[in-house]
Symmetry: D2
Subunit: 436 residues, 4 copies
């Protein structure tokens, strides 16, 4: 099996990958075949599913390879990446072993660096760049105006201007490295009833976003992201998909809504929001993660894998129906507080693939029939049958056949990558939090 | 003090009202004056507030004067209204004593009756009719198609057609009795993932609503109401304000969104939704009530009175700013399971008035200043100062001066209305629920 | 394959079951074998799992075979059971086809009937009786005191006494038919702040429950059930597991807590509550169902199957560890509003079995190792690996080998049972709700 | 008017306080008198209420005078306190102007300092020390074992031992400065299903807490604090009051439960939890704050003032009934991200006092009568009448008569305290967060 290009550099020794794959290659074809026979009985060609899964990709966020934390504390792990170049190396490991994550999403100013060096660093590993992410939710060193009370929607025009210009700079950087989208998430909102006038704040936001939009290249898309709360705790400017839709509608045809799975009110039916945004041509893409309470930023599929499947059920439905303008961006956006970030991102990429693969197994013709005759039980069983089919042999086969690892975590651990970078990268002092 | 018209009939003996008012008329002017002095120091003329409050009205729902229940049981009270004419009598009592509820909102087919008799019955008490409410969330006796699996969005065209026609009939009835709006709330949705295709269901809904809209007289408005869940427990067609906004936008300029306070996800900032709908010209009105858990339909202001105030803070802001097309309909929509419905509706009308009166006390010039300078603490204190001012003397004075009762519940109880109707109206057997 | 006894009567023609099984018996052994091989690689003997699953049973509630509804409406299905004897027949069909539900749980007074006739009716189908359920959340016809304002915790002593006596009667009935437990769930609570004094209400409750406990036979258990809200909407007497635990502790060693999966606050970690109750020796059992919003009473595993698995992960852990006094009762408690209740109960029994089977696959030795070394990623993967293994071949084999149907719904539909009873049982008029 | 002692030092110039009071002293007696007359009509002596309010105190947390933040960013304000001595100075200002906060609660190791210097620093301003707070939710510099995977419940014995010893040290420090309680809140929990074994983790926790308890002086109390989530996002060891109660019960008579208002699941009825803990003798005290979404740590009473009132309604009820062992500790625990922390703490102390004052106005005899006769409407109105009475004149009079400021924020701002300390205390660089 051969990878994407001869010249691509691999930070995990290919011999180790081969050795680890060797331990598993005996059973894989048997499992794949048994599953194939089962699917064949349902009228599904396993190889066709495999090919679709092989073509499915999800971007990784540069900041995801660092250890996350909370306001109470951050407990760094060994070998924390020191800069964007370390981060790109870590991302390359994820891609090498999973073959599902060829693109990295940058966050500015955290990842600011010479554009040529960025491009070389990425292409060395066969990586590309996904959407650019601006940051106006924290103050950068030396910044003139503070974002303490807002950025794009700040009451003060100079602060808004600074935030707009930061976004324009993100576009400029993105143009040099081949990005095709800008994602805007802001912390603007309020902590007290009355602190802001909702309407005037949103008017200022819309005005600022339109300025950013005006600078967008023709082949770019603008993604705005809603979030119910945090860091603002009484209101946020873009609190839900309703406001997010209004933004996309007011701004223009290149403006789309981005759905982060953790940014909704308790109990909200997210898959339905996805369907609505598809229907009205404004689904831009996803930040995948999982959550039990708030914006927990846990690993995708770790808390409620069926919910992730139901979201992909909508995506596959739109894909097969040829929904107009449907081309969602996929990205992981998680906070890894107690795991090795590389391991979490590898498994999360796999979980997203798994949801996609499972959704491809849904018998949509039968489903439509049950829906049309109000056979709720058989309709939901049609989804369940697809969901409970263990598609791991398909995912493993895709990884194996594209040069990745059958078991990415096993290969990664066998290679001792973390210990190696821990030697090169100085330890970061624990703490950092204690904000309370 | 004189009521609205000589010829209006009063079911509560005016002597009793006078006697009850007599017990309280000593202190009222003193309290009113003391409050007036306090407000004067803040630059507020109490009489101007009083006049605005006097002009504020909220409609009562015909079904609200019956005892509510849950799927587990309904425990009827004494003297339950037997038909719409009994209901109108009960509503007249609310209006007589509070002077805040001159209009009644009908629910069809529950309140179906001869139009002339309806009009006469209402005008006998000086009452008018508010929005018409259609019912396609339950099956009426003799109905051809069942709404078990939906109505306006049903997979079957004949069922949708029946639901559309029912709404057209509601408009027709409304025209004969002077209503100017149709409110549509449906139970359509699903109980299982996969039971419905979200997009096709919503397309059918939009198509049906447009047919209803087409029959709307020029001076009518169409209100659609969103609800997160119940009776459907996995998804609802109009699940939130985002979808509700899309409906109003797709349908036409006479289509507006109605906000029921109990129909949102936990923790949602409802006052912000109100602000957004005002900003985009699509706030139609309210169903007032309160809730702690789900759509509890508790008495307005009984659980979180500050939230009700914050909503009115938005409404008063829009009123004073002359927000374009701003003319929200106010209606109570509650389920009275453990109280005398007339008492609950009287006090709830008062609570809504109270929130309005309190919001009128906000020093908006100061507030704007604090907002512009990010003085979050003083901004929120500006709201709090208004909220904690006890406006009861203003409300009582408005009732007294317009011929109502200073203490409506006391007057109502003194008059023995409930006991009297209990004699005329046969007792209803307890139970009815036990659906589990 | 042979059923449990020669003399047991089957309402689904055995020829039909055989014919339906015949369509599926070709693939089943192959799937079972393929899975067996996979499990064998993991060190798991599939036959041992099969035997454990075969021994696992879950009770069905008599009221579950009727169509449920909401306060807005109830839409009956065809062939609704008219009385407990019809219900027992329906339950026998569930047991015949799934072989997982040999016991029926009765609700008094709904299911009140001659004890001998009850026993004969059940034994005719090889059925037994599970826990007795009392009903003091609705008023029975002719009842002296109303439960409108409470039952076991009512302010009035006579009402409490009536509620106590009703529970004593349930025990008496249960004794005659071989039940060994009484389940108490009450609707007592309040709808308004201040309506009740929390402490005095709970004192009255404890006093009443102790009276019931005193009448409990030595070999019986008392199950109390907590619920956060509904039908009471501001507070409930037994609002959560904390209060439920206090009840069991105050009452005595035969008193246990029953966990209904739908009775918790949003986001609550239910599996952890289960673990706590096991640790402190007070887990009585379950009412299985699923929910997305409130107490939706949806089919078990239909919304969040991983949550159901995580609960069984705790149960299997306790079972293997020999947790002291661990002997939980399993019962389905669902409301079937849009499906054929028999079909929903058959599939839900299967879902519960599935969660149990999956939890048996967890490699607990490896899990403990990961837990002890804080390898969060591998620990959670250990659960995921078990969860995503498709155990359907095991469940199907258990059914087949014990005389049930490989595909219970297919066999049920092929037999036309619903159409047949619809002919015998008169149609029930739609409606019933409209309480609003 | 005279303060508590001649020798107490005041950081706010007394002339400024007098001047500011002078502006308001004209109206205050009139408002107080008008309110007094109104209360008199209800049978309440305003001076008795005033005296009770004057005796009511709430502690301030040392960490509360610094600016808070989130994982995304921290935006420091001017004049941030550099150490515990700066913090004590800031706390003295709060006490000087509000006269409601004579005690400061320390957090170790943040506030570690020479005991004599601590005592002198506090007594200089007439301050004392409240409960000690340990910190095992973040790693201190030089700490041997990391709390990344837990502290008191860690799988590793050495880490547990270190956490126990830290708590013992907190007791030792507390003994030297006159504290009488230790509050334990830990971040232990898990982020993934399976990461920990719930039962074994809790066993380890109980074992560790018992070791701490064993070192508690006879006249001390141990407060444990539950929290639903954050920093752990799948489970926490002490997730709710049920587990908290079990801890207090297992540990001993000096162990009590502390209730932080922001640490509950959505919709939970907190006042009922308070009542239950009182009833079972285990209410230790409060961390007051407010929240809309999660543990927002917003200013007390800023989001839902009625909820705060309802909690105090329980407390006053217990106080008047002489509930056994009832002696709750009151403390503010808030995060001030967008306000001057001194201002927020002053107003929050006032809000807590306000809730207490309002709860004192409840006509409890009438309330009991309504409760006993199930007059839900009048019962809840009894609470509402107390709540909506504006008690500000009482609070202002208490402050004035005890030497504080009628309007603490106005006096504070007039004195220019913040600007003054900003000159002395070096600016802190913005940022610190960006953990994401």
């Amino acid at each position: 099996m051969i990878g994407e290009g001869e010249t691509v550099e691999h930070l995990i020794d290919l011999d180790i990958v081969e050795r680890e794959n060797g331990k598993r290659i005996g059973a894989l074809p048997r499992d794949y075949e048994a599953l194939g026979e089962q699917l064949d009985r349902r009228g599904i060609a396993i190889d066709a599913i495999r090919d679709k899964v092989a073509a499915f990709k999800v971007a990784v966020p540069s900041w995801g390879v660092g250890t996350g934390g909370t306001r109470f504390a951050r407990f760094p792990g060994p070998g924390e990446p020191r800069d964007i170049f370390d981060k790109i190396e870590d991302c390359s490991v994820i891609q090498q072993l999973t073959r599902a994550t060829p693109n990295v999403s940058l966050h500015i100013p955290w990842d600011k660096a010479d554009a040529n060096r960025l491009k070389q660093s990425a292409s060395r590993f066969g990586l590309g760049f996904d959407a650019m992410n601006s940051n106006t939710f924290s103050d950068a060193a030396g910044q003139k105006q503070s974002y303490k009370f807002g950025s794009l929607s700040h009451a003060d025009a100079a602060t808004r201007q600074q935030a707009v210009e930061h976004n324009l700079e993100c576009i400029e950087i993105g143009k040099t490295i081949g990005s095709k989208a800008l994602t805007i998430w802001i912390g603007d909102g309020s902590n007290f009833p009355g602190q802001v006038n909702f309407t005037r704040q949103f008017e200022r936001y819309l005005d600022a976003v339109k300025q950013v939009y005006a600078a967008l290249p023709d082949d770019w898309r603008l993604f705005t992201e809603h979030k119910m709360y945090e860091p603002a705790f009484y209101s946020t400017v873009v609190q839900d998909w309703g406001t997010n839709y209004l933004i996309a509608q007011e701004t223009g045809p290149k403006a789309y809504c981005l759905v982060d799975l953790g940014h909704h009110a308790p109990n909200v039916n997210i898959e339905m929001i996805v369907a609505r945004l598809i229907q009205f041509g404004k689904l831009g893409g996803f930040h995948f993660n999982d959550s039990k309470y708030g914006d927990d930023d846990l690993d995708a599929g770790s808390i409620d894998p069926y919910r992730l499947f139901l979201i992909f059920n909508e995506l596959v439905d739109a894909e097969l129906n040829g929904a107009k303008g449907f081309d969602p961006a996929h990205m992981l956006d998680q906070s890894h507080n107690v795991t090795d970030p590389i391991e979490s991102l590898m498994l999360s990429a796999t979980e997203v693939q798994r949801a996609y693969a499972s959704a491809l197994l849904v018998n949509r013709k039968a489903l439509e029939g049950y829906q049309d005759t109000n056979d709720a039980l058989m309709a939901t069983q049609t989804l369940k049958t697809a969901f409970r089919t263990d598609v791991e042999p398909i995912l493993a086969m895709v990884r194996y056949q594209s040069g990745g690892a059958i078991d990415p975590v096993a290969a990664y651990r066998a290679a001792g990558y973390r210990a190696k970078v821990a030697e090169e990268r100085p330890a970061v002092a624990s703490g950092g939090g204690g904000i309370v």
